[in-house]
Symmetry: C2
Subunit: 270 residues, 2 copies
């Protein structure tokens, strides 16, 4: 699905971070109706532009069982109006082996997601049920976009690798060389430090990389695209959430960002 979107020149992912308190007129309807209506409008306005959608679990789970029902309805709606646009569940999950089955039933069965983000800390053995599920995308957190991401992710794992290497790059190596037996692995690398994105791209070849941190979090788009594109000028899913969904004109903002990404990828710029 991603390859098809990329072949159409689409790299923009809209993050459906539907913070209930920030939704205009949120208090008028009930939780399910409010979340559903808000997201349907965003989807109607952007589905012909985007490469993917990425709802973040926290904003829906924060609304309890109604939030889950709304999220399920929203994913169903995306599949109806834009069947070729994958939906990535940004849930950052991960538990020991058999327990992950519950999260997979939740994400891929109940909610109907096409992909999920997972946390690598427990290792590839723990995540095996995800890695074995070849019909979905597994996005492993590699370098996150938060200011304090380096506390553990930048630790030098030199004793293991002979050469100095930060943990997040070692994780990228492990995913590319050992975890990706099912061919369904992808990575999450924040846009906040393009040099780090370039290092990861060099390690993982043409593996898809989800890149949050553009816009509200301050990532530089041109540097990000130059660092993040694969050997074919593809391989990127560039996410913007608040900058689009809470804008006065979500379609206008999405079009602007989409045009900027294309400009970065045009022969003159690259």
């Amino acid at each position: 699905m991603l390859e098809e979107r990329w072949s159409l020149g689409k790299f923009l992912c809209v993050g459906l971070d539907s913070d209930f308190e920030k939704i205009p007129d949120a208090r008028v309807g009930g939780v399910i109706e409010t979340l559903y209506r808000f997201n349907r409008k965003i989807i109607d306005e952007t589905h012909d532009i985007v490469c993917a959608y990425k709802p973040n679990a926290a904003f829906f789970e924060g609304c309890g069982s109604g939030g889950l029902q709304a999220l399920r309805d929203i994913v169903t709606y995306i599949h109806k109006v834009a069947p070729n646009v994958p939906v990535i569940f940004d849930a950052k999950r991960g538990d020991i082996g058999n327990t992950n089955e519950g999260y997979m039933t939740y994400a891929f069965g109940y909610l109907g997601m096409d992909a999920i983000t997972v946390n690598p800390y427990m290792g590839g053995e723990a995540l095996k049920p995800f890695l074995d599920r070849k019909d979905v995308g597994i996005f492993v957190l590699c370098r996150t976009s938060n200011p304090g991401a380096g506390e553990f992710q930048d630790i030098d794992v030199a004793p293991l690798t002979e050469e100095p290497l930060p943990l997040y790059q070692y994780i990228a190596q492990r995913v590319a060389k050992h975890w990706n037996t099912g061919g369904n692995c992808c990575l999450v690398v924040g846009a906040t430090r393009p040099d780090e994105l370039r290092e990861v791209r060099a390690i993982v070849g043409d593996m898809p990389i989800l890149i949050p941190g553009i816009g509200a979090q301050g990532g530089d788009l041109d540097k990000t695209v130059m660092a993040g594109k694969d050997s074919r000028g593809r391989g990127m899913i560039i996410n913007s959430s608040r900058g689009i969904i809470f804008a006065k004109d979500p379609r206008g903002e999405a079009e602007k960002l989409d045009a900027s990404i294309r400009a970065c990828l045009s022969p003159v710029s690259s």
Copy 2:
């Protein structure tokens, strides 16, 4: 709440890993009723023995919005029949700062949990909303009990610390020395390697440690208790899930494990 349970000699945590497929007669009632009835029976039989309950998010989320409603009802029931027994939400969450607010509303607001497990990979800065919430317990994953836990957790972070030190011990140091400003931090350390538990205990002083991996996962109880107890012979929450909840006689199994823990802590044994 934990101190009070420990003062009563209670260290056993029952893991409510309510795998829907394994519940006897699961198909007779609906999801909510089945999950609720199964767990209510476990709670009725064990609440006077336990130190805490630990429902794992995956098994309830795997049942969709009905699973969430059942979990909420179960937590309400625990608070009613055993108001002094804390409920730890084993959800292994963690996202960037403001996004964690959604998970906190979910865990502490909607579901009524007293504590949550979190994943340290994104760093203490990302988890600040959890660490600032002083009225709840925050259990940081340190050394997990799965066979492949060492892939990253055992990495030697020597360049950072002058002396060889595995990542999981460095995380224990960071939590004890830097993250625990609100006094609400606890750790998760598996029972599968008692030596590692002893090392972590030496680093974190009397900080509460949740210890999974007894029973089905093969941890040795006597060695675990000797390694895990704090300077006062307390500080442990020893979890058993499948070994109790799917036993023919859950109360009998819980009593047996409770007695074994006490025996390990008795003057003769220690």
